[in-house]
Amino acid sequence: MGLLTGLKSSISRAASTLFSEEEPKRIGIYGPPNAGKTTLANRIARDWTEHGDAIGPESHVPHETRRARRKENVEIERDGKTVTIDVVDTPGVTTKVDYTEFLEHDMEKDDAVRRSREATEGVAEAMHWLREDVDGVIYVLDSSTDPFTQVNTMLIGIIESQDLPVLILANKIDLDDSSVQRIKNAFPQHETTPVSALEGDNMDEVYDKIAEYFG
């Protein structure tokens, strides 16, 4: 490395340290598989980024997202102020992956085995991000399912132990058997915001909360 290049890079390093407070916070979207994390991430990206590109493909088959994906510099405007965050869409967290479950979704054995291997890598990656690389969490739950699961209990415990700000979303309120109250009861120590990421219902309140929690 030339002297000048070296000097330039150390100046830019120093500058980035100096202005680190200005860097956008990395907000991880966490939750169990099939809660609608990617649908939410895509909704946020479409609403607030110039080209409105999707962050990742959405699917009813569990473990569609098998790599954490980051969308940088998402600028959310609220009350004349701009809150800039990096949105990190993460694979759904679980303690078990059985490839035979994918066979039920019309998948060949080889594809199912590959998907399950990638899914396990993705979960490990998500846990690593949670311990090391996120500044806040949006925890997404499917409000039509039972929230009293071990994964939810453990993840909320892990998030709380790291003192990360957490916004709990009761997603899929467009479904008939959705119950926001059930989620509120499961996590009384946190505020729960209802939403349908798919239909875009109540997204304004979600953006208000994002600005409040992570701004």
Binding site: V93, T95, K96, V97, D98, S116, M127, G157, I158, E160
Partner: protein, 130 residues
Amino acid sequence: MSKMAEVKDPSEGVRIDLISGERMAGLTSMEKIRMILDGVREGNIVILEEGLSPDEESRLIEVTMTEISPDEFTGLEIETYPQSETADASFLNRLMGKQESKKLTVIGPANQIETLHKDETLIKTLVSRR
């Protein structure tokens, strides 16, 4: 020393290891995780008197994921009572910023243990043989 019961064919039953908080206290995080995973991979049910810390739980999930392999090991089922921070911690502990972390924890192979019911005060689990 009293004579132990005669060891029977392990396939006839399910082995349950009940591990005291005292025994766990002497182990490092990775030793705890190794002990749990080794037990579970042999098809045993591991019951921890005092459970794991959130950080250890996070690492347990991560290490479990690296060990899952098709037709051999599909992962873990873990059960603890769902705790709410406010309901759980005593006033003094909350005042001191301490969080009560001791919690009975049941861990077993995902293909042998099934949760039937769970709420803040009761866990019902069905354990099957291999």
